[in-house]
Structures are given as structure tokens and as C-alpha cells.
Symmetry: C2
Subunit: 327 residues, 2 copies
């Protein structure tokens, strides 16, 4: 190997990589407390000569999905997928016509579905997300994601992702962070959109899951999804999911609801510099406005504790210049 | 940005990156069927103009740990750690003096320990791997790994890793593969050595785990390890672990025992080109020789099925030029 060539390449590459001083790495973020907190945090943990430097292998950033990276209002996207599956599977289940919460789904009676509570929602998930192979589920969910549009914005759900967060994810990665999703959604569902939408590979998604089993069916090895919850990645489950899957305490965590509070509490309680942030849905015009009384993504206790804990509340209305990517 | 500079960099970088025709990417592998199978497989799935091309995001390679990447004979390293923990914790457990399998461990009576079977081993694991925080366990296991030497080779266990496999892992990564460990060992134990030893980050380790819970202890958020198995990543559990954690069927799988058979069966049953390999421990002189009657890492049914399934049996004695890295 010719070392002169190598030296030349390294020198020029370093030169080319220096960003122009005027470059805005987060162009869809308005100047303000949140943007400053992010930029200062990243500068501190990547400054080798500073006292708050963090090795690249420890630069773990975790993001909730629903309401933090994509729209969750008025109903979680995965629940809408499950409702559509109930309608699709109804001919094979005549008993659903009279049996809640399925009756409510078939009659678009969301009040009845809501009245069935978490137990009802779990019944719907089990009936629509199991009893099939992993590959069959992937096909069903991929087809739905590729074709179903959100009524208000008339765009695919996988396009209703937040442009400022896409910039933040990309920026963190250029700074040596490894970015993960840690969300209450089903891991097998979320994975189908995270790679293309966020640049987050399938194996960097931590989520809820059903028990699965390996079987050889007609000589073909398959994984089968069973009608039993394996793990619920919400609230106190999130730090556990992080431990089991990632194996390191993150240094940055971003959520939007009380379901993310334990994850952010766990993250910011670590030694050294840490950053915890919540998206606050304050923008009824460009997206939705909900917090303490939201029927999804309730942000209440976390809002009360934010000041004391040093958590950053990111106001969608004030901190984000744009919400969705341009078509 | 000066485009002339950029062009120069790209040109020079491309020039520097072209390997010399004579470069051997797997220098510790002897020429033979196994090495040829690996090189031909990688060439085929990375050749964009060929019919067997695989997108980088799908280039998932999974490796068992014990006996595939590091020594497992005469006893799994993690079991040895557990036995040492039993001795260390014995003063707090006077009842262990008369109670199997603990009595056997304290008296170095491996026959008695073995007679307690899988149930006994689980009791030992539960008693030594739980009832503490994640951070406390990490400290205990890290200290042990940093100081305990294997008696025959007089080296740290984390140094008794296979040089040919280090080369293969590195080679696969240069070819756009993402490398994972999928092993029966405890994920929290394995992670402590995989990054430095193999270049495999903590979150790319799939393993067995205990139930864990999030708690705030004296105001400090911690994850606590409970005395209950969460998941056993062995045999038919391995494809399930792959599904839950990685979310893609691998295209290459490397194991060494019947505990890896389902993982390799699942991998090689996928569409398109696939590669399944087993390390065959045939080298009593440089390492150990065991297979069909091994009390650890039994390789029996897989050996019978290898020909029919197209699985590659890698003979340590014949296929590996060196076994361990030079000091």
C-alpha cells in the first residue's frame, strides 16, 4: 500500500467533511430552547477534549414511535390496521356480530370499542395479529401500510412522519449515535416502515410482541405468531425492553406521553450528561392538539415533572417550522 | 464545496480500497471446501449483476457463541462463572452445604452437578444471576471475565476466541453484512465481551434472559434481574429469538452443535442463496475433539443431516490454519 496516497485521501476527506459554519443541521427546527438544548448536548458529548465526552459505542438514542415520530391521533395507526383486519376477517367469525369489542369495530362504534378498555384492545390485537406465520403477517401489514391513507391529510400513514425528527435522527447518526425505536407498538408491525421512513433498521426497533414459535409446516420452517402477549413495551416496560434488547442505558430519549416517562426517567438518571425530551402536541392547525386529557398519548404527569427533572418540552407549534416532509 | 476535491477524494479512495489480487481475506483458513463455499457465497450475494444478489439490508449473518466463536469445552464459560459465584455467595447460604446441585459445586463434584440436569443448572443460574440490579450483575461478570484464566491455555476466557472466525466476521462486515450473535448463553453475560472480542455491539447479541423489572430504589431508577427465566435462546428458540430481535431471516448462519440446528435449518430454508455452517471440533491437540457424545455442544443429528441439507461442516483440524489469535 502506498502511504502517500492514504495520507492524501485522509487529508482531503477531512477537509471535505468540515461543514460550512452557516449550515443548519436542523433546518425544520425553529431557534429556541429545544433546538439549543439538542445542539449543546450533542456538542458536549462529542467533544473529546471536554469533560462530558461519551464514547461512540455509548451514544445510544431512543425514540418512541406513536406521536413522537409519526401521527398517533385520533387513533394509533396499528389499532386502525387491526380494526380493518377485523372487518376483513369478519366473514370467518359470525360470532363477532354480537360480541364486543368486535361488534363495535364492525359498526364503527368507537365508543363501544373504547368501553372495552385495554382488555378489549388486546382481544382485537390477538384476533388480528396472531394465528399466522411471521411472513403472512408481514405481507398483510405491508399491504395495508402501502395502500391505506389517513383521512384528514390524505397521505399514507407512513408519510405522516415528522420532518424535524427525521433531521434530528440523521444528525445524531452523523455524530456517531446509534438510533433506536422503543415504542409500545408491535415490533413486527413497526419494523415494516422504520427502515424506509426513518433510516432505522429492523433490528433497532424495540416494541411489544406476541409469543412466537418455530414450526416445520409441510417441510417448511416457519415462525408462527401465537395469541398470547410476550412483552408489552410501555411505561415501566420500556426500560426493561431497552435492557433486554440494547443492553445499555441511553444518553438521549425522546417521547411524547406518560407512557414514555419511565424510559426518559431511566435515561436521564444515568451518570454524565443526558437529554430527555417530549413532543408536546400543541398544533391543532398543522397536526393535533392534545395532552393531559388525550385518549391517546396522554401527557400529564410528565408535564408536571418536566421542570424539576430538566426534561425538554418541545412544542410542535412553536419549535417546529414544518411538521411533515414535503411530498 | 469544491467538486474537484470531492472527485479527487472519491477516485483516490476507490483506488486505495481495491484489494490486491493476491490478498487473502481469510488468511487463517486453509484452502478447501469450507473456505471456497464462504468466498463463493459472499461473491454471489454481493454481485449486483448476478442473479443471486442480496440487498445490504438483508445481509444478516448469525453466529452461535459457545463453541462457534469461543471455547466451550470442557464446560461453558458462563457455567464456570456461575460456579465461582456459588462459592463466593456460599457464606450467605449455609443450606447449600447439604443441598444439590450447590453441594456438588462447592465440593467440585461435577458428577453430582451433572446429575441434577437442566433443572439443577437453572437453579444455579437463578441463584447467581438474579436478585441484583443490571449494573451490579455487569460489574460482577466483567470483573470475573477480566481476571479468570482458563486452566489449560492459561489465557483469559475472552482471549480463547477463534482467529478464523474473527477474520470471517470482519470480512462479512466489509461486504455489507450485519453480524449478530444468536446463542444460548445469557445475553447480559455475553454482551460484556462481544464488542471488544468480536466487534459485535451489545444490541446485536441475541441470547437467553431472565425476567427483569424497572424499579426506583432510593430515588434511583434501576433494572432488577428476577429469578425467573424470560427466554431460552436454544434449539427451536433460536429462530424465535431471531424473529423477535432481528426481524429478518438470516442468509448465513454458523453454529457448532445440535442446539444450532433449527437456526441453520430456518436460515438455509429461505429463498435465494443461503449458507449454513457448523464448526466440527476435531482438534484435540490445538483445542478439543468432541461431537456426537459431547457433554457440551453435542453435534449429532446435524452431522447426519448436513449432506442432504447442503450444510458445510468446518473441521477445526483441517480447515483452520490457526485456532487462537496470537498474543
Amino acid at each position: 500500500m502506498n502511504f502517500e496516497y492514504v495520507t492524501t485521501v485522509v487529508t482531503l476527506a477531512a477537509f471535505v467533511a468540515i461543514p460550512c459554519a452557516a449550515e443548519d443541521v436542523l433546518p425544520s427546527w425553529n431557534d429556541g430552547l429545544a433546538k439549543t438544548a439538542i445542539l449543546e448536548f450533542v456538542a458536549a458529548v462529542t467533544d473529546e477534549s471536554g469533560g462530558e465526552y461519551v464514547e461512540p459505542s455509548e451514544r445510544i438514542a431512543v425514540f418512541d414511535n406513536d406521536g413522537t415520530l409519526w401521527v398517533e391521533y385520533p387513533m394509533y395507526t396499528q389499532a386502525l390496521f387491526a380494526f380493518d383486519r377485523v372487518k376483513q376477517l369478519a366473514p370467518q367469525h359470525p360470532e363477532w356480530k354480537t360480541q364486543q369489542p368486535f361488534k363495535g369495530v364492525l359498526e364503527d362504534d368507537m365508543k363501544a370499542v373504547g368501553a372495552s378498555g385495554m382488555k378489549g384492545l388486546m382481544e382485537i390485537i390477538m384476533a388480528t395479529h396472531s394465528g399466522m406465520t411471521a411472513a403472512e403477517f408481514e405481507q398483510e401489514a405491508s399491504d395495508w401500510l402501502a395502500t391505506t391513507k389517513q383521512p384528514r391529510f390524505k397521505r399514507l400513514y407512513s408519510e405522516l412522519i415528522y420532518q424535524p425528527q427525521l433531521e434530528l435522527l440523521a444528525y445524531l447518526r452523523t455524530k456517531g449515535f446509534k438510533t433506536f425505536i422503543v415504542s409500545g407498538g408491535g415490533v413486527a408491525f413497526m419494523r415494516l416502515m422504520t427502515e424506509r421512513a426513518y433510516g432505522i433498521p429492523r433490528d433497532q426497533v424495540v416494541g411489544s410482541s406476541v409469543v412466537s414459535e418455530y414450526e416445520v409446516q409441510d417441510g417448511k420452517p416457519v415462525v408462527v405468531r401465537k395469541p398470547e402477549m410476550n412483552f408489552i413495551d410501555d411505561k415501566a416496560g420500556k426500560p426493561v425492553g431497552i435492557y433486554q434488547h440494547i443492553g445499555r442505558r441511553p444518553i438521549l430519549a425522546f417521547g411524547n406521553s406518560d407512557g414514555d416517562m419511565e424510559m426518559i426517567e431511566f435515561t436521564t438518571a444515568g451518570k454524565g450528561r443526558r437529554l430527555g425530551l417530549f413532543v408536546h402536541h400543541t398544533d391543532a392547525e398543522r397536526e393535533y392538539a392534545y395532552d393531559r386529557r388525550g385518549h391517546v398519548g396522554r401527557l400529564d404527569t410528565s408535564l408536571d415533572r418536566a421542570d424539576e427533572m430538566g426534561w425538554i418540552i418541545v412544542s410542535m407549534k412553536d419549535d417546529w417550522k414544518t411538521v411533515f416532509p414535503n411530498r
